[in-house]
């Protein structure tokens, strides 16, 4: 049975096309359409219901050591008010999930997890927790809205005190009053544009949504969230990262600190250099690349796509893919089997989109 977020009724009222995603019923788009929603985020500002994301709190004197042992990144240097991206690995080096850790206090951390993985993550963490730590899944009590786009600051300032905003990327401020609601606001996002993510008591989520919408943010659905993150070259668990795809192959080396022990480190080190790596592909021929399509150089299969679409606002199909390291150099021409038709594409550097 799929769950509803606190904004479900609002999505219906706004004419959102509701689909099941990660165990939740969410709008894939509103009547405005994916293209307009994507462009609104690049040019102005959009709001996304991301209440499906999981949240858990780890606290106690052993919390820091526990996180360092469970996750690929190091949290020794994470200051209170800072956010850090990390991957959680199985013993064999495959990924359980990727997540963001917020340092709330000396001994208290908030973990933000992928919706579809929350239960799996929570069980994994509980099974591997050592030391003087408490761990609590608070997902049901938290609503979350992503406010993304160059006008985000202006829009947030219309409903909250600007001096309370987090300034730097990957920092946050707790107890920010947004439309009169006590929220945590972070300078994070999954679009590649400037923006915020707002963590809200579940029963007040609608108040914040309505206030941001009244201030000029366009409601956007999962469809635009996916085209935006793809254009920004951001990995999505289950596509570019999975139990079969380790973070080194995914090019997430910045989030892997192998100079300290963590679950999966030894397996990761033993693998050595990956045979296939994550690249961007841009179509030369007309057509649309999608996930799970085979990639060839001549008659040799050299990889396959993991995500693909037509990027709104362009006439170009872009994909993320894993290819043999020999074919990973930007400028390499490949062909992609798009349902029996060979479409020529070029390896290009990620991301496809960079904030101006």
């Amino acid at each position: 049975m799929d769950k509803k977020t606190p904004l479900y009724d609002i999505h219906r009222e706004l004419g959102g096309k509701i689909v099941p995603f990660g165990g939740f019923l969410l709008p894939v788009q509103y009547p405005t359409g994916i293209i307009a929603e994507h462009l609104a985020v690049r040019e102005r500002a959009g709001i996304f219901d991301v209440s499906h994301m999981g949240e858990a709190v780890m606290s106690g004197p052993g919390a820091l050591a526990a996180l360092n042992g469970l996750l690929t990144n190091s949290f020794d240097t994470l200051k209170i008010g800072g956010c850090r991206y990390a991957v959680m690995l199985y013993e064999d080096g495959g990924a359980v999930d990727d997540l963001i850790v917020f340092r709330m206090d000396e001994d208290r951390y908030l973990l933000v997890l992928n919706a579809a993985n929350t239960e799996k993550d929570v069980n994994w963490i509980r099974d591997h927790l050592e030391g003087d730590v408490t761990f609590e899944d608070i997902s049901e009590h938290i609503g979350q809205i992503a406010l993304q786009g160059p006008d985000s600051r202006k829009i947030l300032a219309a409903v909250a005190d600007e001096t309370a905003f987090p300034e730097k990327y990957y920092t946050f401020r707790d107890h920010v009053s947004v439309a009169g609601v006590d929220c945590l606001v972070s300078r994070t996002g999954y679009t590649g544009s400037f923006g915020y993510e707002i963590f809200i008591p579940a029963d007040r989520t609608a108040d914040v949504w309505n206030a941001l919408r009244d201030a000029g943010a366009l409601p956007c659905g999962l469809g635009a969230r996916d085209t935006l993150r793809l254009e920004a070259g951001m990995p999505l668990y289950g596509h570019e990262l999975s139990a079969e795809i380790d973070p080194i192959s995914a090019g997430l080396n910045f989030a892997v600190k192998a100079d300290k022990p963590f679950i999966g480190r030894d397996a990761l080190l033993a693998k050595g250099a990956p045979a296939r790596v994550r690249v961007g592909l841009k179509a030369i021929d007309r057509g649309v690349m999608r996930e799970h399509q085979d990639i060839y150089v001549g008659e040799n299969k050299v990889g396959s796509t993991t995500s693909g679409t037509m990027i709104p606002g362009t006439k170009a199909s872009c994909a993320m893919a894993y290819v043999d390291t020999a074919c990973a150099e930007p400028g390499t021409e490949v062909s992609v089997d798009v349902r029996g038709r060979r479409l020529r594409a070029e390896v290009v550097p990620l991301p496809f989109y960079k904030k101006p």
């Binding site: 096309k17 894939v28 788009q29 359409g33 994916i34 293209i35 469809g223 085209t227 007309r286 057509g287 649309v288 999608r290 679409t309 037509m310 709104p312 199909s317 349902r339 038709r341």
Partner: protein, 126 residues
């Protein structure tokens, strides 16, 4: 939803217009374009291709997914609307103006619906 009375409709959401002289034009319905969302690419047949009633003659890509186009008739492709290659969004903005192909020498036609029956079908699918 707009469903012009002068057209005939397939159960797979294509429309068919009978032209003077016996050729037919084929496109997708307002209901189809709305269900598919923003269309970004169309794979058209080529002039001279044989098409078969009930079988795929091309495909349509929205931002999210790809869908087959099904021919409501058997015949030969007489013309295709090449404007759609550069502007597939016309299928969203003007689904009954944005014809996809014209077919000549029609020998077989699927069971088609009139506007009223088609509207009823769409209601049932909702």
């Amino acid at each position: 939803m707009n469903t012009p009375d002068n057209l005939r409709y397939s159960k797979t959401h294509e429309w068919l217009e009978l032209l003077i002289g016996g050729n037919v034009r084929v496109g997708i319905t307002d209901y189809a374009q709305d269900a598919l969302g923003d269309l970004v690419f169309i794979n058209l047949p080529e002039v001279g291709d044989a098409v078969t009633a009930g079988e795929s003659f091309g495909d349509l890509e929205s931002v999210k997914a790809v869908s087959d186009l099904f021919s409501p008739v058997t015949g030969t492709v007489e013309a295709v609307n090449e404007e759609l290659l550069d502007a597939p969004e016309l299928l969203n903005s003007d689904p009954y103006g944005a014809w996809i192909m014209e077919v000549s020498g029609v020998t077989e036609t699927e069971d088609l619906l009139d506007a009223e029956a088609y509207n009823k079908l769409c209601e049932e699918e909702e």
